[in-house]
């Protein structure tokens, strides 16, 4: 054996240099154990999945059978009989888990189709009688998705009897923001006064959209109370409240007074939203609008972009002669959106065509001329669409 071969033979079999000197055997054992364990784990998972799929298939077959039975024509179906006559058969009250799951699906589907009042009442009554007990249990589940789903169903079926239980959940430390939100929306939909207390809290972490979803379905009585306590609301709720005013198209004196007070206030965000809401209102105080016009002639260009945009829109809804020069000025605004909005607003005026034609040819600003041309064409195109 020459030296070369002897050296190679010496090298095989053990790491004798570097960081892992003498540790290769340990590393090998460790890697083998980890690989083997992962493989065994995967094989177990494979077996479990096969079993789970098998069970799921059986469940689907059973549920399909129940679905067929519930939807059966003629006198055989207790559910159909209930919806026709309102008589609750004992078969509907003593249901297995699979039957309940199928019935829940059927009732949710009926709800999504917008049932008539009588049918709606029957759906709510039946769901209460059948699901009340299981929903109570599921609301206490440790699994988050089970709790959230149950809350969504409770809301859909309008189970006002469960409201005290929901209060307990709301008070518990484990209540997540999504659960809190669904509960508050449920309160709002059912006219439960507790929602006002929750809205007045400063530390409820919800998004603007979620607040809107809670505010929009509030009853008139709750709405009035909230308006009275406007100043006590958190800033975020104040902002969304103004948006909700606009979406609900509130035209009461109280609402308009609140908006008018806010558009002359110091907060730019509240001002912008109030202007936006006011643009939808039919009856406006002329004196106030003149005041607004005065303010805008003096400081309009310095106001934030969003506010300029909304004012451009508002001037389109008010259609006061005095706003025409202002709109023309806004058509040359550095922001494209404001130019477009101002042009659209001007297009709503009686003398729009002449004004736009004049702007398209004579305005000193190139952008204003362009947008005027485009708006003129769009007006023509709008007529073609009609």
């Amino acid at each position: 054996m020459n030296d070369h071969v002897r050296m190679n033979v010496h090298l095989i079999g053990g790491q004798n240099a570097g960081w892992f000197e003498g540790k290769t055997v340990l590393l090998l054992q460790l890697s083998s154990i980890i690989c083997g364990s992962v493989l065994v784990l995967l094989l177990c998972a494979y077996g479990y999945i096969l079993w789970d799929k098998h069970a799921a298939r059986r469940r689907v077959v059973v549920q399909a059978k129940w679905l067929h039975e519930f939807n059966a024509e003629g006198e055989g179906s207790a559910l159909r009989n209930y919806f026709d006559t309102g008589e609750l058969d004992s078969a509907l009250l003593n249901m297995s888990g699979d039957q309940q799951a199928v019935l829940q699906g059927i009732l949710l589907q009926r709800l999504s189709q917008g049932p008539r009042e009588m049918e709606l009442a029957r759906i709510r009554f039946l769901s209460w009688r059948v699901f009340e007990s299981s929903y109570r249990t599921r609301l206490g589940s440790r699994k988050w998705s089970v709790r959230v789903n149950t809350l969504l169903y409770v809301e859909q079926f309008h189970m006002i009897e469960l409201l005290p239980k929901l209060e307990d959940i709301l008070r518990s430390a484990s209540c997540t923001p999504l659960e809190r939100f669904i509960i508050l929306r449920m309160y709002a939909r059912t006219g439960y006064m507790r929602v006002l207390k929750e809205l007045l809290r400063k530390d409820t972490l919800l998004s603007d959209s979620q607040y809107l979803q809670i505010l929009l379905p509030l009853t008139d009585e709750m709405w009035l109370k909230l308006m009275e306590h406007f100043k006590e609301l958190s800033y975020q709720v104040q902002c969304t409240f103004i948006d909700a005013l606009r979406i609900r198209d509130e035209q009461t004196d109280n609402a308009i007074s609140l908006l008018e007070a806010l558009i002359l206030g110091g907060d730019a965000e509240l001002r912008t939203r109030s202007l936006q809401a006011l643009a939808h209102v039919e009856k406006k105080d002329k004196r106030l609008l003149r005041q607004l016009l005065l303010v805008w002639n003096e400081q309009g260009d310095e106001r934030p972009r969003s506010e300029r945009l909304v004012v451009a829109r508002l001037m389109g809804s008010i259609r006061e002669e005095a706003f025409v020069p202002l709109l023309k000025r806004l058509m040359g605004d550095p922001s494209f959106q404001i130019r477009q909005e101002a042009a659209n607003s001007l297009a709503r005026y009686e003398q729009a065509v002449e004004e736009l034609r004049y702007t398209a040819s004579e305005h000193p600003d190139k952008y204003a001329r362009q947008i005027a041309e485009e708006t003129l064409e769009r007006k023509q195109y709008g007529r073609k669409m009609d």
Binding site: L11, I12, T24, L42, I49, S145, L212, Q370
Partner: protein
């Protein structure tokens, strides 16, 4: 050979193997952490009822979105694509089709089907402050008032998106890939995080899970076709496994715990906040960068502005794309992706390891460089060293075995874990046969698909340094 030379060679190989060993251990730990983080999140959310999306269909609540759809030589499929988009379930949206200089009858098909009326004086607003392709004409459909068609000179996918951004009117824009098929409720799902954003939290981009459209394997049971109708090739099955793993590990795992480190949105479908895109000047039209570069610039911009903009990845399947069905197509696609990854990272190299960019600069980008960009080189080199070292009998056989086991763990077993989790958590009805096939294919990944894929990606790297032919600017999906 001189003993001194043998010693040197031996030291070099040992040092390489030790380096690779550490690399593999770190990669496995990282993947496992991301995988477990994703699994926790999915287990929590997987069963939540779709009733949660109902409010999204209220026009007053959902922010309107402009769908930007660049098309290029799509004569045969354009009407189907538009029809499908028109079926989208969402409160308020507009569809902007951008015909990017097609040389076939794409434009004529659109004209005939949607009764397009040219808008003569449409203002071509250039808020992006970037040169965009020459627009030939802008049309509005007389049949669907929310459909706008832009006919422009050829400029590539990214240029078309820039043109679309310029023409869009809504505060959010959605970019849709060349071969993407959107689910009907895709917009509802993708916009939910935007609507749920808390005060002070801004979602600047959102992307989601992409499925494989070829044959709809193995989801045929929810499509109303039995799975036996289409037997998929091993190549497609492996790509399906890859998509599942990427979705779990790189997608969901990276957005867990609110650490803002997601470096990509899907090129197939992503939603962006328009004003933020405008602020950074829109898409980079250089063909050597991809969507990832835009996302890196967004991160950079938000950090520079000191604003908390986040990029989100949602776990719901929202769209599907056709994936390559042959090795040559796969080579083209993977080389292209890798070229774009390298180009994007090079373009934004100032962010690499820069503490100014926080987790992004210190963790996410180094991870993408080491694991995604350089991973193929390291893996292939390791395999070559393993084989040659054992053949030449100048390395420790036990160390080779350790490395081989780690490679299996890193590739096959992690994929198998991802697939098993997907099967368990999915609402799709997989058959027993499909479960078994997916499991076996996932376990075999390290031995054939991964090395081939690595070769393709290395080819992409070679293209970056000027070797080989590059493709056109129109990427698929």
């Amino acid at each position: 050979m001189d003993e001194r030379w043998i010693n040197m060679l031996r030291s070099l190989i040992v040092a390489w193997h030790e380096g690779i060993l550490i690399y593999l251990i770190l990669a496995i730990v990282m993947f496992s952490v991301l995988f477990l983080a994703a699994v926790r999140m999915l287990i929590r959310q997987r069963d939540v009822d779709s009733l949660q999306y109902d409010e999204m269909l209220n026009e007053e609540l959902a922010p309107p979105v402009s769908l930007l759809v660049p098309v290029y030589n799509s004569e045969n499929m354009i009407v189907d694509r538009v029809e499908r988009l028109l079926e989208t379930q969402y409160a308020l949206y507009e569809i902007i089709i951008i015909n990017d200089g097609s040389q076939d009858g794409t434009m004529q098909q659109l004209m005939d089907t949607y009764d397009l009326l040219p808008i003569q004086s449409k203002v071509h607003y250039s808020g992006l402050e970037r040169e965009i392709g020459q627009i030939r004409a802008v049309y509005r459909s007389m049949v669907h008032c929310h459909l706008l068609v832009i006919d422009k000179e050829y400029g590539g996918h990214m240029d078309s998106l820039n043109v679309g951004i310029n023409m869009s009117q809504y505060p959010y824009v959605a970019s849709i890939g060349q071969a993407t098929v959107l689910e009907r409720d895709a917009l509802v799902k993708i916009m939910k995080p935007v609507m749920s954003a808390l005060p002070g939290e801004e979602i600047v981009a959102c992307s989601g899970r992409v499925d494989m459209a070829n044959g709809k394997y193995p989801f045929t049971s929810i499509q109303g076709i039995t799975s036996s109708e289409r037997e998929l090739s091993p190549l497609l099955i492996m790509q399906y496994i890859e998509y599942v793993r990427a979705f779990l590990i790189s997608g969901i795992g990276l957005v867990r715990y609110n650490i803002n480190i997601l470096l990509f949105t899907s090129q197939a479908f992503g939603v962006f906040k328009k004003n933020r895109i405008m602020e950074i000047g829109g898409y980079n039209t250089d063909s050597h960068v991809g969507h990832i570069e835009l996302v890196m610039r967004l991160h950079k911009h938000m950090k520079q502005m000191k604003e908390p903009g986040r990029i989100i990845y949602i776990p719901d399947p929202i769209c599907s794309v056709n994936v390559p069905e042959s090795w040559s197509q796969l080579l083209k696609q993977r080389a292209g992706w890798h070229r774009q990854l390298a180009g994007s990272l090079w373009e934004q190299r100032s962010m690499i390891g820069n503490p100014h960019y926080g987790w992004m600069g210190m963790v996410s980008i180094p991870y993408f460089i080491l694991v995604e960009l350089m991973g193929p080189v390291l893996e292939i080199a390791t395999i070559i060293f393993l084989i040659s070292g054992m053949w030449l009998q100048i390395v420790d056989v036990k160390l080779c075995l350790v490395l081989a086991l780690l490679l299996v763990l890193y590739g096959s077993l992690l994929s198998a874990c991802a697939v098993m989790f997907e099967i368990w958590s999915s609402r799709r009805a997989y058959t027993f046969r499909e479960v078994t096939r997916l499991f076996l294919y996932a376990c075999s990944e390290t031995f054939w698909f991964r090395p081939m894929n690595n070769v393709f990606r290395i080819y992409g790297l070679l293209q970056v340094v000027g070797y080989g032919k590059k493709d056109s600017k129109h990427g698929k999906g």
